[in-house]
Amino acid sequence: MREAVAGRYIGQRVRRVEDQRLLTGRGSFVADVEPEGTVHAAFVRSPFANANIVSIDHSVASRAKGVVAIYTGAEICLLTNPFIPFSNLPGQFTPPFWALAVDRVRFVGDPVAVVLAYSRALAEDAAELVEIEYQELTPVVSIDDALRTDSEPIWPAAGSNILYEAADQFGEVDEAFRKADRVFTETFTSHRLSNQPLETRGCVAEVDPESDEVVFHAATQAGHALRWTLAAVTARQSAVKSIRALAGNRGRLKAFARGAKAALAGTGDQLKKADSSGTIHQIRKDPRTLLYLGRSFLGTLSAERFPRVVAKDIGGGFGSKGPVSREDAVILAVAMELNRSVKWIEDRVENLTDGGQARDERLTISFAVQDDGTILGMKANLVMNQGAYPGVPFNCGLFSRIMKVMLPGTYRIDAFRLDTTVVASNKGRYIPYRGPWANETWARERMLDVVARELGMSATQLRLKNMYHPSELPAKMITGPTLDPTMTAATTLQRAIELAEPAAFAAKQEDARSRGRLLGIGFATYHEAAPGPPDYTDAVTPGVGALLAEKSEISLEADGTVTIRTQQMPHGQSHETTYAQVAADQLGVPMEQVRLVWGDTKNTPFGIMGTGGSRGGPIGGGAVQFSSRALRTKILDQAADLLEANVNDLEIVDGNIHVRGVPAKGKSFAEVAAAAASAGGGIGDEPAITAEFTYNGPPQGGWACATHVCWVEIDPDTGFVTIPRYLVVEDCGEMINPAIVEGQVRGGVAQGIGAVLYEKTNYDEFGNLQSSTYMDYLMPTAMEIPEIELHHLETPSEVEANYRGVGEGGAIGAPPALTNAIENALAHLGVRITEQHLPPHRILELTGVIKPNVASR
């Protein structure tokens, strides 16, 4: 049950704590870090999509001004282990790969060598002097290239360019399709795009030549995952040496055992469900995997130097700073080899080339429906283009499983089949991007509009007819997860219809058409598992839930202030503000008294996820709430001793702990801290009282839901799409800080609009990247993004800490709402929208104003 809280801060548009430094130029981003004696790195990158490296000559480059060292792939092999696949699904092959290309390059931008010099400019000068001879191979670029049986495998051990195939069936699919009055099928293609945080990637490996300490300063969304991955990759020594070192260092072994036990605490049941057949399959296909695994594991246990990851301010990520970069491993390895600090800050061209790209998926969807619009079944075929190198720790496999679970959406669909294929190609790395499963929503919501049009129904009526309504909950999605009463998608749709008045719009649209103007409206509804019910993670991939619990540590300091330690990695989500709001309300102190510590693996709790998956509010915020309550209990116990009062009679108001109604005789937090410290024999530097809480969401879970409505006007002569109005009705439960929620939603919508109308990571048929600057990769500006109206439905819940995720939803809802609106505007011209990228020239092609140019797609 909910505990009543005075609630001074939660729900308020509290100003951001972060702004005090970020708006005055006093932030500390990774590019601002430069230890004494740092050398700077520049990477030499492949100009070819697919080629063998014949020879590398860096003799001239090595003599260039200011050059300290140059390392090629062959040399990196002696300093590192390859990246080894982390999450293997049954039947999946994930190639192990090295931090630098060794004998072959696999995409334009593949790092081949690293140059270290006294300045970045000198390193870049010398990088141009490295002579590399390549032997070009036939590039595999598109999904169709990769699926061709005669395409040469990019990873020979895989045997083909198909890395993963799966078939999942739920319910009686064939029967549903046999019984249905109508079957509709359409194939939807989404282009490749890029996360594009304004701060590029970068890192500084700070090496103290006098000690074993290595601090890896990074812009990362997941510091602990980065730390352990880097440790595994850079722990390059023979297994024999590792075993000898371990035998001589039992303290280390014990420390690891303790760490592993803590990391796995309470997750044993989850882990038992994990299926290890994927790893076995992997080892069979490429037996070297076993050698690399053993060497990395033993090396990690015994390496002399173990990196500590530190991140401070981070300039956005949107998923791109969660994966571990190969460059990170190169920089750490060469810094340890040279025994000096090394810095690498990526430039924008590199970021557009190798900073991670996303989407690039094809979904064929069939709906079996009755003439009245009742959906009987759904079939889908998904192909994902993973590019050349798999993401670490998570690759396409995991995201395909999320799509599997989410594809039926918020609708009553009792029969569902999905066929999944993941292919390799000579493109950049596929990484998660804000709602990595988003294309399931896009394709399904697009297809529902197609079905409605074919049936002559309104798209909103078709949705409402098939959607789970609150009175039908709880229910179970056919793919497994429980839909509890927080799944309010239908309520958001109904509210959106009231606000948008689609019937009135239809009359306006008709009138506009008669005068040559093209107006359209589009709806899209989705739910997101943030936090999601416990059976959600099991449905995605059994055992993965074990990785997701999150610990919050909290302490009352000797001076009476409160410190929260989190594994979250804020990079724009304002955790310092919202977590202080949550803790201050629990503890009854001004929020200025609460400080958040994050980003340093040395003094934050372990967690693999970092910040991602819209979990900062639901999981991280919940963990803070419950750890704060545990601390409050301890503080009150201590105060009861001091005040010689019954703990049940105490209250805390504005940081004053007193017997209810007798504030004059109260004790401050500092006084309680002093008493606790002296009782504990402390000397005042250590925290006086500590508490912690490990949390993985409420037992019932919870869903974030929204309906987006987009209006468009299309210029029939230029094909230019404008958005006169955009509306979001969302339900994320209780809002800790509405201004921060609104910023998250609007920012997500802006990225979704950019995806449809402007942004495209464009490769030509040879795998050459055509969009490596902001002149070609079009980022939306203030002129392109409309005002976005927001309506909040804060559905109350018996769930305590009823915070549901808002990080990703905006970017999930916008592409279907916008593409639906565009088709709606062009419907009378016979246009069907089956692709996601719709720049003006493509609109004109679809409307027949200009001839289609296939090469431009």
Binding site: D32, A121, E128, E742
Partner: protein, 192 residues
């Protein structure tokens, strides 16, 4: 992959330069303080501010003049410090994000600028990597046009990219700044 490196060896403003080693001595005023430095002719103003003066509040987002994160004020004009060479700034007056707030001798902030206050009130930014550029851009155009319409604000900030916010909160922040600055001016007029 490497960013285009500038090769100019001559300052547009005729500073002392050495054709032999490609360096030049420049004198300029940064945030009200006079500085003299010998610099490489190809050093950008952004790198000069960040690396030579340790003014790391100016951020580099794209290094090819599109994103606007590196915007600073040069003689009352908003410029992209990634596209200007340090030698071109010889003899100029530069204001960076660090120079917006009023500070004491130790650099401690006494009071923040109305634009900073407004952005905080409006929740203008999220990661705020782009914020310095937006603030310097806004500062300059509000000097020219202290009472802009929303459409004018939208257009004026459209040369700066923000990936987090969708811009609405930044526009609201500029509108709040207009109000605060107008109120300050009224107060100032009354005091006079």
């Amino acid at each position: 992959m490497n960013s285009p490196s500038a090769t100019a060896t001559q300052s547009a403003m005729g500073s002392l330069h050495s054709p032999i080693d490609g360096t030049a001595t420049i004198e300029l005023e940064v945030n009200g303080v006079g500085v003299t430095r010998r610099v490489n002719a190809r050093l950008s103003l952004a790198d000069f501010l960040r690396e030579r003066l340790d003014l790391t509040g100016t951020h580099l987002g794209c290094e090819h003049g599109v994103c606007g994160a590196c915007t600073v004020v040069l003689n009352d004009e908003a410029v992209r410090s990634c596209l200007i060479l340090a030698v071109q700034a010889d003899g100029s007056r530069i204001t960076t994000i660090e120079g917006l707030a009023e500070t004491d001798h130790d650099g401690q902030i006494i009071s923040i600028h109305p634009i900073q206050r407004a952005m905080q009130e409006a929740h203008g930014f999220q990661c705020a990597f782009c914020a310095p550029g937006f603030l310097m851009t806004a500062l300059c155009f509000l000097e020219r046009n202290p009472a802009p319409t929303r459409a004018q604000i939208r257009e004026e900030i459209s040369g700066n990219l923000c990936r987090c916010t969708g811009y609405q909160s930044i526009i609201a922040g500029v509108e709040t700044a207009v109000e605060i600055m107008a109120a300050d001016r009224r107060e100032g007029a009354q005091d006079a």
